[in-house]
């Protein structure tokens, strides 16, 4: 049950970095990320089964933060692949450094000009398609790393369905096939997190390879703990009030509900302003920290004011 943070990883496989679900929770807490049982269990399983975790949920619930914190807790390097429309192999997996290759050919030619026979094409080809000329992009980098790493594939729903296929080989077999070079296998299996904002259905193939974790807005208790953890010098009762107001806002029909990060922003704002209690006026005055759409602010203001009359 002890924190297995710095335990050496058995060579070959990824192996268990955390010892148990409790160790996961403990390790993440030590770097300031509070988890519930479900998160701890899923991360623990991902660790044990060497499977990637697909983290889905509304924006601002700490999906990316989870990966970062896991890396911090393990003392591992975080390798991040930010997805965007139009991401391709050259940006995600690897690329040949063709400039260097060209230079190499030129040097070869310059050297050969003096004497008669040049070195054969075969040797040259083998030479310029060697690891020296390979530019590793995040996925390959994570596979090749000899030190412990955590791979974060951020906002995977932004790439097109066709591009998802790029990820499949890496995620299921932890290897990358490079036609000129052969297959690069992971020396140690990294802990992988994929995040998605749920803007589109991911392909079955991708989902099948992952463990699924839905991160929703935290419960009142957990959110209060998060606020207390992240906002120094906040009074306990103020934190309590803050998370309750946020919960009420989340129950309204708004375009975009306040996220955890916005709760924290709000808490910091209120602390800075030296507010003692969150009453209706304070809330209305600082609502723009929590809500980012004008229509939402109006709607929330209307509903909160209406409660006043009751």
């Amino acid at each position: 049950m002890s924190t297995a943070v710095d335990r050496p990883v058995p060579a070959g496989r990824g192996g268990a970095r955390f010892g148990s679900a409790a160790a996961v929770a403990e390790g993440l807490r030590s770097v300031g990320y509070l988890v519930d049982d479900q998160i701890a269990t899923v991360v623990h399983l991902a660790d044990q089964l060497d499977k990637p975790v697909l983290v889905e949920g509304p924006a601002g619930t700490g999906k990316t933060e989870l990966a970062k914190s896991a890396a911090a807790a393990l003392g591992a390097r975080l390798i991040r692949l930010q997805c965007y429309e139009g991401l391709d192999e050259a940006k995600a997996l690897y690329e040949w450094n063709y400039r260097k290759q060209l230079l190499r050919i030129q040097v070869e030619r310059a050297g050969a000009d003096g004497e008669g026979p040049r070195s054969g094409w075969k040797e040259l080809e083998e030479d310029i398609f060697s690891e020296e000329f390979l530019l590793a992009r995040p996925l390959l980098e994570a596979i090749r790393a000899s030190e412990p790493v955590v791979l974060l594939v951020d906002e995977v729903d932004r790439i097109e369905v066709e591009t998802e296929a790029l990820l499949l080989e890496v995620l299921s077999d932890f290897q990358v096939s490079i036609p000129e070079l052969g297959t690069v296998r992971a020396t140690r299996i990294p802990l992988v997190f994929l995040t998605s904002n749920d803007t589109r259905e991911l392909s079955e193939a991708l989902k099948r390879r992952c463990l699924y974790l839905h991160l929703d807005y935290p419960t009142v208790e957990r959110e209060r703990a998060i606020v207390l953890e992240k906002v120094p010098g906040i009074e306990e009762y103020l934190a309590e009030e803050i998370v309750r107001v946020v919960r009420t806002l989340r129950s309204m029909e708004l375009e975009k509900h306040p996220s955890v990060s916005e709760t924290l922003d709000w808490a910091r704002t209120l602390v800075l302003l030296g507010v003692e209690h969150v009453d209706t006026e304070t809330t209305l005055a600082t609502l723009n920290v929590l809500l980012k759409y004008r229509s939402d602010i109006e709607q929330a203001a209307k509903e909160l004011a209406a409660t006043g009359g009751r």
């Binding site: 049982d37 899923v42 803007t199 463990l211």
Partner: protein, 493 residues
């Protein structure tokens, strides 16, 4: 355990969840790494390996409740229960509720309603989960009156229990009599704290307090439901119960017969879909025609052929901005669909600026500005209902007249850049079809699509004249649930 898991997976598949073999293997593997006695951990492990979409989570949760709620103690209890049922019963009172007294651990003497009401109130006030669970158990024992072998669903027992508890006025009581803690000194702790916390906040505090109690009431309801399920699962067997609890997945729910909760869930699933739909409809054509010669690129290219322009380059033509025109039937015959349609139109309109929306019954009116200037969908729908002038004569849908009016007033604005999306069942109350209008629109517009909420089998029966319009549309699609809408969107590529 493995047998239970396979049964469980079968049930998930029956309920429509796509569970693949690899996922089952993963789940089996995962079970080795979690403590089996810990239900929450077990649930997380199975959820993470078997369910890959949040929309499927409710179905999973229900099935899990049924299959595993009895498990930890289930085997032992099952054995203990058997003699209890056939053996001598302690008294007549027990006979009325044999199953539950056993399953509840035997310490459930029937409570009288007054005492139970106090218990429930106290549990709600303190918000203690264990107390709530206890109250739920007692409430089910007292009110549900579960009769073995009676083929009714959980919702019936849930209704009976909740009616028995009469919780409608409890919320009012909780809010109104805050300092009424003298009677229940033990409840003063939790309730008092909460009250002292919210009191200085004035009106906002009341609202927060109300929300907290509402959340606790929901929790109680959930606990009651799962208690009923637990008892029924013990009585009927997990498989049979799961079958009766099976519900349609959100993507398969028929728009026309959706319940309110289903509509809410659908709406959530609708958003990402409309974004794709709008993007697809608005996709600009880029790679088709060649534009004028691109001189600079041609010269640059010619360098590789020694200055001879072997490969001329052309500008790509300036892509036109496409427009979307949505025409939706909002008449009574498609009322449920119309509500959904309006959601769809609202979602499209809010994500894409070049959308014009029209609604019709037997007259037609443009509602673009209503959608654009409404802060919420509820407001938009209300305004469409009150402000849009859609009744021409009698308020029964008349596609012919509506289309003719559309053609008259806005027909010219439909151009080769316009995509027309018509939503309606094509039931015309035997009015004239005026299909020539659609023919003309189709000629002018880039594409005309028709989404019909009726099953394909009914098309053309009775007063349905979808057949008269279909030849002029680029596609007529049956669109009764999200899955079909999704496949329509997919076909747009």
């Amino acid at each position: 355990m493995l047998a239970v898991l396979t049964d469980f997976v079968d049930e998930l598949r029956e309920a429509g969840l796509p569970v693949s073999l690899t996922e089952v293997l993963d789940a089996t593997e995962a079970l080795r790494h979690v403590p089996l006695g810990d239900r929450a951990a077990l649930r997380s492990a199975l959820g993470a390996t078997l369910v890959k979409s949040s929309a499927h989570w409710p179905a999973f949760a229900t099935a899990f409740d049924v299959y595993f709620s009895l498990r930890p103690a289930g085997l032992g209890e099952g054995v203990a229960e058997a003699p209890g049922e056939y053996g001598p019963l302690p008294g007549g009172a027990e006979r009325s509720a044999p199953a539950m007294s056993e399953a509840g651990g035997g310490q459930l003497a029937p409570v009288d309603p007054r005492r139970l009401a106090a218990l429930v109130l106290e549990a709600l006030r303190s918000g203690d989960r264990a107390a709530l669970a206890e109250a739920a158990r007692l409430a089910v024992a007292l009110y549900a009156g579960i009769e073995p072998g009676r083929p009714v669903g959980t919702s019936y027992y849930l209704y009976r229990t909740m009616r028995g508890l009469g919780l409608d006025d409890v919320l009012g009581q909780l809010l109104a009599s805050p300092q009424d803690t003298g009677e229940h000194p033990e409840a003063a702790g939790g309730g008092g704290d909460l009250r002292s916390l919210t009191a200085p906040l004035g009106a906002l505090g009341d609202r927060l307090l109300g929300d907290e109690y509402r959340a606790r009431l929901d929790e109680l309801r959930r606990l009651v439901e799962s208690e009923i399920r637990r008892l029924l699962a013990a009585e009927r067997g997990a498989g049979a119960l799961a079958k009766s609890l099976r519900r349609t997945l959100v993507e398969d729910v028929d728009f026309m017969h959706a319940t309110r909760e289903e509509l809410v869930a659908m709406r959530r699933a609708l958003w990402p879909l409309t974004r794709v739909l709008a993007a697809r409809l608005a996709r600009r054509r880029r790679h088709r025609r060649r534009g004028p010669l691109d001189f600079r690129a041609t010269i640059r290219r010619s360098l590789s052929t020694g200055g001879v322009p072997v490969n001329p380059r052309f500008h790509s033509p300036h892509p036109a901005k496409p427009e979307i025109v949505v025409i939706a039937d909002v008449s009574g015959s498609v009322a449920a669909f119309a509500r959904f349609t309006l959601h769809l139109v609202y979602a499209i309109a809010s994500q894409f600026s070049k959308v014009r929306s029209f609604v019709f019954i037997d007259g037609i009116d443009e509602v673009t500005s209503i959608f654009r200037h409404s802060s919420s969908i509820a407001e938009a729908i209300e305004r469409v209902g009150t402000e849009a002038d859609v009744c021409h004569l009698d308020g029964h849908s008349d596609y012919g007249n509506a289309l003719r009016m559309f053609h008259q007033r806005w027909g010219r604005e439909v151009t080769a850049r316009t995509n027309v999306l018509i939503l309606g069942d094509g039931r015309n109350n035997y009015h004239a079809a005026e299909a020539w209008v659609l023919a003309d629109l189709a000629r002018r517009a880039r594409r005309v699509y028709w989404l019909n909420p009726e099953p394909r089998a009914y098309w053309g029966s009775g007063d349905s004249i979808i057949g008269a319009y279909a030849p002029y549309c680029d596609g007529v699609f049956e669109c009764r649930n999200l899955r079909q809408l999704e496949s329509f969107v997919d076909e747009l590529v």
